[in-house]
Every structure is written in C-alpha cells, then in structure tokens.
C-alpha cells in the first residue's frame, strides 16, 4: 500500500441536525496545457490513468538529460499499457514552443506522444501546477540554463492523488518507481 501525500481536506456538514466532519484526500486541481502535437492535455486526459509527472526544459544543461534517460525506462516499460502515461511540464514555456517540444521528443525517439506528453502553456499556470504537485520550479539567473527545478518524478494515481516522489536522476530511485507503478496497477478502484 503506497502512502497518499498532501493535506486532507476537511469539510463539515449538518446531517439530521448534527455536525459531521468529512475528510477527502488531496488531489491535483484541474489543469490544461498543450502537448508536442498541439493537442490539449488536461485533467480529463489523465482521468482514470496512473501518471508520472516531471519538470524540465529543453535547453536545460544540467539534470534534465539524465532525467529524460530515466523517464525513457518508464516509457519503454508501459508502452503497451494505456493505463499509464507520462506528463513532462516545461518550466521555460516561452522558449519551449510546441515545435521545440516536438523536436526534443523526436530526439528521444518517441513515436507515441499520447503516451508521453511534453507540455507547454502559460508560465504562471506551469508554476502553479508545480506547486500543486508540491515541488519547486522557479526562474534563477544564477542557475545553469536560468531555471531551477526539482529533479523529482511524481507518481499520481487514477484518482489524481499524490502517491510517490522519486529522484529522476538516480537509477535506483526510478527502479522503485517502476515497482510502485505495478503496485498501483493492482490497486482496487473505489
């Protein structure tokens, strides 16, 4: 059983004159971005799917190539399983246009963009979604490439709940992710 991350949301309601406290797990709020094929990817796209998210930018000189190499392992393993998809958000959306993301995904040899979406959109929305995954992403003129971001891979379940964080630059950590995706695939849906 994998943990569920994020603060539970408590609501109170009155049932038969008594106050009842209800709790709900934290979930990723609705979003909408565009992928490398100009296709809109939003909360409907990921509905009922397990997905792995990460943050990167195509001109990133430091940890991104290694992260993409590790993400390729996720891509290869679940290529034929349509319950699992990948979302890579660009934190440099002004430069990372659809054309540029298409070029980058081509260099990684991706044939199937509905399996691994590389996403761009409004900068503020990208930073907001990073915050909702509980990871950091920011501009920093002193960092290599001008941006800093978490090297995490984030595992999200079919109900949009946060289920795991992994170091996308470490092979052993991504081994753990692959095992945890298999655990999630076995999980019974409510």
């Amino acid at each position: 059983m994998l943990p569920v991350y994020g603060t539970k949301i408590y609501t109170s309601k009155v049932v038969d004159g008594n106050e009842v406290i209800d709790s709900a797990d934290y979930t990723i709020p609705p979003f909408s971005f565009v992928n490398q094929d100009s296709v809109v990817v939003n909360n409907e796209t990921v509905k009922g799917k397990i997905y792995v998210a990460d943050f990167f930018f195509t001109s990133c000189p430091s940890i991104c190539p290694k992260m993409k190499k590790e993400m390729l392992r996720v891509y290869e393993k679940y290529k034929a399983n349509n319950e699992v998809i990948i979302l890579s958000f660009s934190i440099d959306p002004a430069r990372d246009t659809v054309a540029r993301l298409k070029n980058y995904s081509g260099k990684l040899g991706l044939e199937n963009s509905s399996k691994w979406h590389m996403l761009t959109g409004e900068k503020d929305s990208i930073y907001a979604i990073a915050a909702s995954f509980l990871v950091s992403a920011a501009e920093d003129p002193n960092a290599p490439g001008g941006h800093v971001h978490s090297g995490n891979f984030i595992l999200v379940d079919k109900q949009s709940r946060l289920r795991g964080y992994y170091d996308g630059t470490k092979t052993e950590s991504v081994d753990k992710l692959l095992g945890d995706i298999d655990i999630l695939l076995q999980e019974k849906q409510p």
């Binding site: 001109s59 000189p61 190539p65 190499k69 390729l72 980058y104 260099k107 990684l108 040899g109």
Partner: protein
C-alpha cells in the same frame, strides 16, 4: 643483527608486493584517476559507458568527432559547445554546458575518455590542457 636485516629486507619487499597484488585481484583493477571525475561531471549526459542518450546527447564510444578533434576537448570542457556537431554520421544540436574543473582533473578525464571510449593510447597532462586553454577560440 646484520644477518637479520639481510633476511628481513627481501621479506618485506615480498610482503608489500603481495599486498599490492592482493588489492588488484580483489578490486579487479586499479581505478583510473579520471573515472570518478568523469562519473561526477560527464556521465549524467554521456552515460557511464559513454553511450550518450538517443539522438539527444552524442555517444563518446568510438566518437569520430572526438578522435579527430582531441585538441579541442579541453576548450569544450571549459567553455561548453554551442553549435550543432556530427558524430559518427549523426547530427546533434543539444548544447554542452561548461564545467568548472581544474587542468589536472580535465587531463584525467580526457585520458579516461581516450582510453575507455576512444581506444586512443595518447596520454595528455595538465600542462597540455593549460596550453590548449590559452588558445581557446
């Protein structure tokens, strides 16, 4: 006393040699001084085995571009590389970022890459690296 030293001296030498050989046998090899620096500074893109990443990052294994331009490698490490290159017939245009390491580490890395991936026996030293650095484009 003199006799004792005469016997002990060769024994000590044999003992030291035995420890040395034991180390080589148990560790399998003597680690190249450039290996740690390579793994820290280069491997996350070029790979532990110099294999590169798909069409994003060029391989170092038998890389003709590196073999033909060995004199330029110190400047690529120091200043990065920001234009498209062709390696073994394939075009790569992801920029290489500069690494801040000294001339000794740079020489060690180049020797490690040469020996492990380029099958090149020439060894370079820190003076050679400095000389190349003084003439970077």
């Amino acid at each position: 006393m003199k006799k004792l030293i005469r016997y002990l001296a060769p024994l000590t030498i044999v003992l030291i040699a035995a420890i040395f050989i034991y180390n080589i046998v148990t560790n399998g090899y003597i680690q190249h001084p450039g290996k740690t620096s390579y793994q820290k500074e280069c491997a996350q893109c070029h790979g532990d085995k110099g294999e590169g990443i798909k069409s994003l990052i060029p391989p170092l294994i038998d890389a003709d571009f590196a073999i033909q331009n060995i004199d330029s490698i110190p400047c690529w490490i120091k200043n990065g590389l920001n234009h498209p290159i062709t390696v073994n017939g394939k075009l790569y245009d992801q920029p290489m970022y500069p690494i801040s390491i000294d001339e000794i580490q740079t020489a060690n890395i180049i020797n490690y890459i040469s020996r492990e991936f380029l099958k090149n026996k020439t060894e370079v030293n820190s003076a050679w690296v400095k000389e190349k650095w003084n003439n970077c484009p």
